[in-house]
């Protein structure tokens, strides 16, 4: 074949590709911005250091589970066990960190559990070819049961300094989120990470092209598990203790945030920045309802309506065209 010509006229590729990925989420970013401004006007406390810290802390776990769900949906999977995994992460943190393992050992235990659960789920779904919905639904019973075994009722403890660091008046949560996003960008720039999209959207074609499809998908499940138990650790730090059912709401919310962010169910559709924006939008709505004095019950009702509305309205407009 002929020699590579025109090597230097191609110019940069990475940044144009990144910019192109914004196209689908621009209107979402605009909506988030409007909500953020409205929220800032309603509750000026947002612009103080403490207010900003509190707000990002309420967003942080949701952002993590949204990423956890989004990475699975991009790879063509889904998990109904996110909530249970968050709970398990929380109880492991609450039972280990105050004990002999210490914070470092506890964090390692949480992380390894997440990776292990994710990789196992991934192996079952991908290699044994079982439907993800049913596997993760059954998995949620196993993982939830494990959480109940470790801590049958709310209890345990998180060292006070850790709670202060993560959930006190510091922007630590926000910094941590930036770090996670940076790590994600790095992962997406590896051949395995970039293969995620191909493995999710066109697995047969990707396999023929030499992509390790199974590996990319199992890795996605493992990362998803890690993010979920990490969210559990943070929730435990927020409350100062563990609760075996604290994660329950995260399953629906993770799917809702991902779908709000434009992630499709068929694999390979959407972007992580969209999922993050979706989680921010959801978090803003929940905060607004809280400040407006909605009872938890009314929040449930409103949340159900908002999710349907937010997903349906863009679709509806598309159909009308």
């Amino acid at each position: 074949m002929n020699t590579p010509s025109s090597a230097n006229q191609s110019g940069a590729l990475y940044w144009p590709v990144q910019l192109r990925r914004n196209v689908g989420v621009r209107s979402l970013f605009a909506v988030v911005l409007v909500f953020l401004v409205a929220y800032g006007i309603l509750f000026p406390g947002l612009f103080t250091a403490a207010g900003f810290a509190k707000f990002t802390q309420s967003w942080f776990p949701l952002a993590l589970v949204a990423m956890a769900q989004a990475i699975l949906m991009l790879s063509g999977g889904i998990s109904l066990a996110i909530g249970a995994t968050v709970s398990l992460g929380a109880v492991i943190a609450a039972t280990t960190m105050a004990g002999p393992l210490g914070v470092a050992g506890g964090t390692a235990a949480v992380a390894l559990t997440g990776l292990g659960i994710g990789a196992t789920t991934g192996f079952i779904v991908v290699r044994l070819r079982l439907p993800a919905i049913v596997v993760t639904l059954a998995g949620s019973f196993i993982i939830g049961g494990a959480a109940l075994l470790i801590l049958p009722r709310p209890g345990g403890a998180i060292p006070a300094w850790l709670s202060d660091l993560l959930a006190g008046n510091t922007p630590a949560a926000f910094a941590l989120l930036l770090l996670i996003v940076a790590l994600w960008k790095l992962y997406l720039a590896t051949p395995l990470g970039l293969s995620l999209y191909a493995a999710g959207e066109n697995p047969v074609g990707a396999y023929r092209s030499g992509v390790p499809v199974d590996g990319a998908r199992i890795a996605a499940y493992a990362i998803s598990g890690l993010l979920s138990t990490g969210a559990g650790l943070f929730v435990a730090a927020q409350t100062g203790s563990g609760d075996p059912v604290i994660g329950a709401a995260f399953t629906l919310n993770s799917i809702a945030a991902a779908v709000l962010g434009g992630i499709g169910f068929l694999g390979g559709q959407g972007t992580m920045r969209g999922a993050l924006a979706g989680s921010l939008l959801l978090s803003l709505m929940i905060s607004v309802m809280f400040f407006l004095g909605f009872t938890p019950v009314a929040q449930y009702v409103a949340q159900g309506l908002i999710i349907i509305g937010a997903v349906a309205v863009p679709q509806f407009r598309k159909v009308q065209q």
Binding site: V134, L137, L148, L149, V204, G304, V311
Partner: protein
Amino acid sequence: MTAWIESAGGRRALTVLRSRPFLTVAIVAAVWIVASFVSRGFGAYGHLRYLIELGAVIGLVAAGQTFVVIAGGIDLSVAAIVTVSAVSLPLLSWQADPTGITAILAILALTTAIGLVNGLGVALLRVHPMIMTLAMATFLQGLLIIVAGGSAVTAENPLVHWLGNARPAGIPAGVLLWVVVSVIVLTAMHATSLGARIFAMGANPLAAALSGVPVTSTTLTVYGISGFCSGLAGVLVLGMNGQGYVGIGDPYLLASIAAVVLGGTSILGGRGTYAGTIPGAILLVTITALITVVNASPGWRSILFGSLILGLLLLSGREQARR
């Protein structure tokens, strides 16, 4: 022997023997036989009858779920609808109607309407079924707490009581109801053009639409059926329990989906039968009963339940790759 296999009847018999519904029946039979040797009293007629009575509730919920899954969707709001039915029915005891049938019909109309709303969201607003039905479940959960508060409500409806406790000719009324529903469901699924449309829609919605299948109304029908079936299950569970409370329907979400999948229906849609879901439902109550026999803590029970379902899936629920 070979001659028999070659014959037409023999081949048909072989197809039945190799089919997924039959495999599920075989697993149920094996579990029952083993369990009755291991655990005293498991194999007693009364106990098995009780199992099937419990299976009826799952079977009813799973009837609607089977339709939805074959049509290519999924209904994650069934548990909430069962609860709506079981909690709202006691609130509707008219004095004017001595049989209590009006209240039941009203509740079934309500749950069917909830199902139709799911269908509207999926068909017209193009919301993904998982999101639509999960959001519906969240919505209903909130509504229920507002309506019922936290306390249990007692049913005084005579027909509900009869359904839950009567045993005409020694057979529990709930099981009779399940048999009737099963006959109707199997007929609708495999012997009407509606059933054929549902299978076609699940296998390839685009091709079905281009072949003239009225996709919107078929989707509405499917979710409406699911709402109706869950409502009926709620009535039955209320009768068997005597009381309705928030959370009474929760076990039936995983159970209904597991029964459908264990029965050989493809979660991807377009393939399956309620004939497999029926033994699937019985298998699930059997598992639950065995776990109760073990007498473990809630955590272990949950782990055992999840693991057994996963194990059974490994045994029988493998999906062949499509495309």
